[in-house]
């Protein structure tokens, strides 16, 4: 078990449906009794319809939220790219956002200065460093936040449909980055609705439906059954 970096044991997660959380009624289970383990270097794809529990699973893996039942064990530094563009502050400039987000990811002042240049180069936003983010397009914000996140030191990377709105050229560079991760033996959890991409990069796929684990196995097999089920509906 040396190589297990993520372990879910009978994990369930309950959310409140209502605004106030004082009543125990009106709850729903976003995840029900999920169990799986991820080995170092694995790239696991997550598929399932909207609301199937993919994001909840990633939030648990990155310890953003705690499980209602069961236990989650994670070994190593997790960087989650869960709708990361929303973590930027629209009032601050591009430069200020880079500094702040790097610090939130746990970097020290000297480390931030070390990777600042790399982040700017990767994002390709040279002329816009001192522009407030509220004047950025959503594509530019995605580029910026994705560039910050991939430059953070990490052992485990969680991605939740991050490449959806960037252009082809940037996506190409991102896939190159993913290949680099693969070579350096980092573990990845990738959720996407683009089954071709998943087939291309994953070594294993987990299919979730209404909070339960339907299937966990080789990409070809799981994706084939999943797309059959989608059409069947």
């Amino acid at each position: 078990m040396e190589n297990t970096v993520i372990q879910f044991n009978g994990v369930s997660k309950r959310y409140h449906l209502r605004e106030m959380i004082f009543s125990k009624k009106d709850c729903f289970w976003a995840l029900k009794d999920i169990g799986f383990g991820a080995q170092r270097g694995e790239i696991i794809g997550l598929v399932g319809r909207n609301g199937a529990g993919k994001t909840t699973l990633m939030k648990l893996a990155s310890s953003i939220t705690a499980p209602t039942k069961g236990a989650v064990y994670v070994r190593g530094r997790v960087v989650s790219l869960l709708s990361i563009e929303g973590a930027t502050n629209l009032l601050l400039t591009c430069r200020e956002n880079i500094y702040l987000l790097c610090a939130i990811f746990g970097l020290k002042w000297s480390e931030i200065r070390g990777c600042f240049g790399d982040i700017c180069r990767f994002a390709g936003l040279d002329g816009f460093l001192d522009m407030p983010l509220k004047r950025f397009s959503s594509g530019m914000i995605s580029r910026l936040s994705f560039s910050i996140a991939v430059h953070m030191p990490s052992d485990i990377i969680l991605m939740d449909e991050v490449l959806a709105i960037t252009d082809a050229e940037f996506q190409h560079r991102c896939f190159a980055k993913l290949a680099e991760y693969k070579r350096s033996n980092k573990t990845m959890l990738v959720s996407s609705h683009n089954l071709t991409d998943l087939q291309r990069i994953c070594s294993r796929v987990i299919w979730l439906d209404k909070g339960s684990l339907v299937k966990d196995g080789m990409p070809e097999q799981v994706l084939k059954e999943y797309s059959k089920a989608l059409v069947g509906d």
Partner: protein, 260 residues
């Protein structure tokens, strides 16, 4: 408690960056920029001077009213801006809390630190007025640092409690304005606590800010040591608030991202 202190030291870089961002965000797209840090206390000072000194003619312990007032107003402004800024420190930054895993208490410390920058500027005004009225500080002025430390503990503890509670009940942020206003009137900011007599005085110093503000006046204006029983009481209450705030925060921290 110890876990919180360890976290603060380990994440000091983040606390610094957050405090700088909070200060920047506060004054973004303003024409006067950081001049607001000076303008607000000055305006309050003028109003207090007019109402308490001219209209109500309250005694000011033998020093010019402006100085008498500012000695307590400067720390009070630090207290009230800290609270009113950090009441939303968690709720306004829900976009960070729900997306990235980092110690959430850094948001509150960052917010208090950002108010501390404002406070330092307010004290520059204080020094200017002291020079203008030619009031000399004595040796007892060194007690200032002890009193300020107590106030910092109390302020931070209150900020932790208030912002945590606000995650569960947003009513807190709406009530904050009127609470701070009346709290100020119940503290010796515009008047001397000497005018409080009788039964009320027995309870008056249960408000830590009363003991703290009176101690500032003792050591800065009258060059005498603070009134120890009152300051000690304030210190103990402050410590209790800080410790219980940190304890509750640590217990609730894993749930914050679901509720915020």
């Amino acid at each position: 408690m110890l876990a919180v202190l360890k976290e603060i030291i380990h994440w000091r870089h983040l606390i610094f960056f957050l405090s700088v961002s909070f200060t920047k965000v506060k004054y973004k797209q303003t024409y006067l920029r950081f001049a607001w840090i000076i303008l607000n206390p000055l305006a309050t000072l003028v109003i207090f001077n007019f109402i308490f000194s001219r209209v109500a003619s309250l005694p000011s312990e033998g020093v010019p009213y402006v100085i008498f007032n500012l000695t307590a107003l400067a720390p009070w402004i630090f207290f009230s801006t800290s609270i009113s800024c950090s009441v939303g420190a968690l709720t306004d930054n829900f976009n960070l809390i729900t997306r990235i895993n980092f110690p959430r208490i850094t948001l509150i410390f960052g917010s208090v630190l950002s108010s501390l920058y404002d406070c330092i500027v307010t004290y520059l005004i204080f020094i200017a007025f002291m020079k203008f009225y030619d009031i000399k500080l004595g040796m007892n002025a060194f007690y200032f640092f002890l009193i300020f430390f107590i106030q910092l503990i109390f302020t931070t503890g209150m900020c932790v409690l208030v912002s945590l509670l606000n995650v569960y009940l947003r009513d807190i942020q709406h009530a904050m304005f009127v609470v701070l206003q009346s709290w100020m009137l119940f503290s010796p900011v515009g008047y001397s606590s000497g005018i409080i007599t009788g039964k009320v005085r027995d309870f008056y110093f249960l408000n830590p800010m009363a003991g703290i503000l009176e101690s500032y006046r003792d050591c800065l204006l009258h060059n005498r040591p603070p009134d120890w029983p009152n300051l000690l009481l304030a210190g103990l209450i402050s410590l209790a608030i800080f410790v219980s705030g940190c304890y509750l925060f640590k217990r609730q921290e894993p749930n914050l991202s679901d509720i915020v």
